[in-house]
Amino acid sequence: MIQTEQLTKQYGGLTAVADLNLDIAQGEFFAFLGPNGAGKTTTIKLLTGLLKPTSGRILICGRDIQTDSVEARKVISYVPDLPFVYDKLRPMEFMMFVGQLYGMDRAEAGGKADELFETFDLDETRDQLIENLSHGTRQRVVIASALLHDPRVIIIDEPMVGLDPRSARVVKDVLKARSRAGTTVFLSTHVLHIAEELADRIGILDHGRLISVGTMDHLRKASGHGGALEDAFLALTRGEEEATAEEAPAK
């Protein structure tokens, strides 16, 4: 569903993403982790076609995001960490608008929106303008609208920020259910226990390089730590830091 081949993005002299090779299958829940500045957001922007890679290519459901971008974007839903919404619309109007942008007719979009309103407990917000909603509620509206057209790939950046525990539970359940139903979920987060709880596979990016990818067991083995993901993550990223520090004087 998501394939990257030798994906590289350079900003001037800085390599933000280096030779990234990913192959994420249909229905897989993939968590993408990494320290600050590791290149996660750049990778997400490359996957969604927002940024142009310096080299390499990205296939979404077999379609190149650069050369066949409209078709590729039809099957993607992207929820950034700071999503855009039209403040002067009501949540239902925004949902209908998004549905129509993805080619749904009003009846179909309305039906789906009703279901998602119920799932995300948004019924009480129907008559309010989005500008009057709290951050968490807005986040729920955005996530609900991203699921409206039944995307085959969901790319989501830090979805739990600002959500109360109940809403966070709902989002986690919905994403997991979608994944089981065949949707590929690519989730970038700093909250390790969410990745541990939901992901089928976890990829760890550091200094633009994918330093480890696999199941929890694989990461534990690779890091030499048998405990929680946090220990494995710290061990793997520390190892990379030390390797980088050792390489630097040699240059």
């Binding site: 900003y11 800085l14 927002l50 409209v70 078709e71 919404v85 403040d87 942008l101 993805y102 080619g103």
Partner: protein, 579 residues
């Protein structure tokens, strides 16, 4: 998704949102709505009266009335065209490359070129409506002076539509090319160097006119000079020429000739749009991607280079060198200067404002009047003071008023320093006042020298400009803190990131109205003691009279009030301000 369906959906959603914005006026303070409505009404009435009087006066010039009237129109549209190109470039940059909405749209299953077309249309409307709104009294006055029928105004709408499209396409094309091929930092320095070179060139090569030759056949020379200098606006390849010619033709009842210019405008607008949209296919997405890849570069040191905490740049070294600044004040000033310098849309508008003011001052020496006459020199110098202070009021409203609101969610960082928000407020006041007075004082001294004003007059005007810089900044900072516009909603949509939107609220309008009132009172106070001499046609004062000194003391007191009142009220409000 088909292009038309996409545009239709966006148009519907935006119309819905616009309707709600207008509807929300009912929920806002009646005072605000009344102040804005009164301001608009006063502007329209005063503008119409002024232009109507001016056009009628020009019409009475024997044999040349119609020529002068028409030439005014050519000049007006030439300047309007230039301003529209600038305005489209500035708004287009924010709209195409910095807007969260554009980023969101680029992830939708629509062609990039459709996103570009929508944003181009949006930019055209945003960049043009204010100019058309502001020029309406002049157009109405022209129509009244020409005694046209209602049809003239309807046909004028036809001319305006393609006319605003051409600068929009041109501005967008420039922005596309610059974004695609020039790094932001390179562009910034290129613009800075070009601007400085242009100013130097104007100073060195634009020669003042010969005064001696004018004294003999003054009126004819003035007209000749005016017509000669403005002949560039008659270039038949300029869109401003087409729109003015079409307007003149329709004003005179020349239907076919008017239609010809309309068709010329229309075909060129269509061609410009076609070129721009075709170019966007290659440039827009590449430019967007490049633009959003640059932010990270500047944040990251080059490979192998470490950032040392003690490294000083020019700004820090300069601030260290300034005596009397505390460490906190230095940090706050450095932060404000950096934030301003790194926000392209902010400083580019600032440069344009001061560029226009500079051009105006430099042009003073080419105005065909006899500076040996103390009457005209004084008359123009007061007009000059009025124009400079009005520009300064626009600047303080546009750039200084939003400063407090711009802190937005970051207020907690600066608000926690010793001295709290009160200190922030005064730091913003001093920084903006010093910046404003350095620039306006320089321009004022240059213009006074050109007008060959006596030393005491020069000192009087320089002192007034310094007073006004402090007074207007006091008003802007004080009202900015009294009526902050933090916006609502998530960070992505928050209005506090866009200074232009902050100004558009009640506080911004109030700030501008109060600033204009302050300027009006100051200039009236300074003119009053000289009024009898103005009426007699000759200014004989060779040194300041007691009445003039009294007027200046009044200006000092008024300026003190303009600083202390809003700043005091704002400081009191900040005591109870919840971060």
């Amino acid at each position: 998704m088909k292009s038309l369906a996409f545009f239709g959906l966006l148009a519907r959603v935006n119309a819905q949102a616009a309707g709600r914005r207008v509807g929300s006026l009912r929920q806002q303070s009646r005072l605000m709505v009344t102040v804005i409505a009164l301001f608009v009404a006063c502007y329209w009435v005063a503008g119409y009266a002024l232009f109507f009087y001016g056009f009628n006066f020009l019409s009475t010039v024997a044999g040349l009335g119609a020529v002068l009237l028409d030439r005014m129109l050519y000049l007006f549209f030439a300047f309007l065209f230039m301003m529209l190109v600038f305005s489209n470039m500035i708004i287009g940059y924010s709209s195409l490359f910095k807007s969260q909405e554009t980023q969101w749209m680029l992830t939708l299953p629509v062609r990039h070129v459709d996103v570009f077309c929508w944003k181009l249309a949006e930019t055209t409307v945003l960049a043009s409506w204010a100019f058309l709104f502001l020029s309406a009294p002049m157009i109405l006055a022209y129509g009244a002076a020409r005694q046209v029928t209602m049809w003239f105004y309807i046909k004028l709408g036809l001319l305006y539509l393609p006319f605003i499209v051409i600068p929009a396409a041109l501005g967008a094309l420039v922005i596309l090319i610059v974004n695609r091929y020039l790094h932001r930092r390179v562009f910034k320095w290129a613009l800075f160097i070009t601007g400085s070179a242009a100013i130097l060139w104007s100073i060195v090569f634009l020669k003042p006119m010969e005064v001696a030759g004018l004294q003999e056949t003054q009126a004819v020379s003035v007209l000749n000079r005016l017509l000669h200098n403005s002949r560039v606006t008659l270039q038949p390849m300029l869109p401003s020429y087409w729109v003015a010619s079409g307007m003149i033709a329709w004003g005179e009842g020349g239907g076919l000739r008017g239609m010809l210019f309309f068709l010329v405008l229309l075909s060129n607008a269509m061609m410009a749009t076609l070129v721009c949209v075709t170019a966007s296919g290659h440039l827009f997405y590449d430019g967007w991607s490049r633009n959003h890849s640059q932010g990270t570069i500047s944040l990251s040191p080059p490979a192998g280079r470490t950032v040392r905490g003690e490294r000083r740049n020019i700004l820090e070294s300069f601030l260290d060198w300034l005596p009397g600044l505390s460490t906190t004040a230095r940090a706050l000033v450095a932060k404000d200067v950096r934030v301003f310098w790194r926000d392209t849309s902010q400083w580019s508008q600032f440069v344009i404002f001061f560029g226009l003011l500079g051009l105006y001052v430099l042009n003073l020496r080419n105005v065909a009047y006899d500076w040996n006459s103390s009457y005209w020199a004084n008359f123009v110098s007061f007009l000059n003071l009025g124009a400079s202070s009005m520009t300064l009021a626009t600047l303080t409203t546009r750039f200084v008023f939003p400063q407090f609101s711009l802190e937005g969610k970051r207020l907690w960082i600066v608000g926690m320093i010793p001295g709290g928000l009160r200190r922030i407020l005064w730091q913003k006041f001093w920084l903006s006042s010093v910046c404003a007075f350095i620039v306006t004082l320089t321009l004022n001294i240059v213009s006074s020298c050109m007008l060959r004003l006596p030393g005491w007059m020069m000192t009087l005007f320089a002192g007034t400009v310094v007073m006004m810089s402090f007074g207007l900044c006091g008003i802007a900072v004080g009202i900015g803190a009294l009526f902050p516009n933090f916006g609502r909603g998530s960070t992505a949509n928050r209005q506090d990131d866009n200074p232009a939107r902050i100004v558009s609220g009640f506080g911004g309008t109030l700030c501008f109205v109060v600033s204009l009132a302050y300027i009006a009172v100051v200039i009236t106070a300074l003119v009053l003691p000289l009024w009898p001499q103005f009426e007699s046609g000759e200014i004989t004062a060779s040194s300041p009279t007691p009445a003039m000194l009294a007027a200046w003391v009044f200006v000092v007191l008024l300026t003190g009030a303009a600083i202390v009142l809003p700043m005091g009220l704002a400081t009191r409000r900040l005591r109870d301000f919840e971060l």
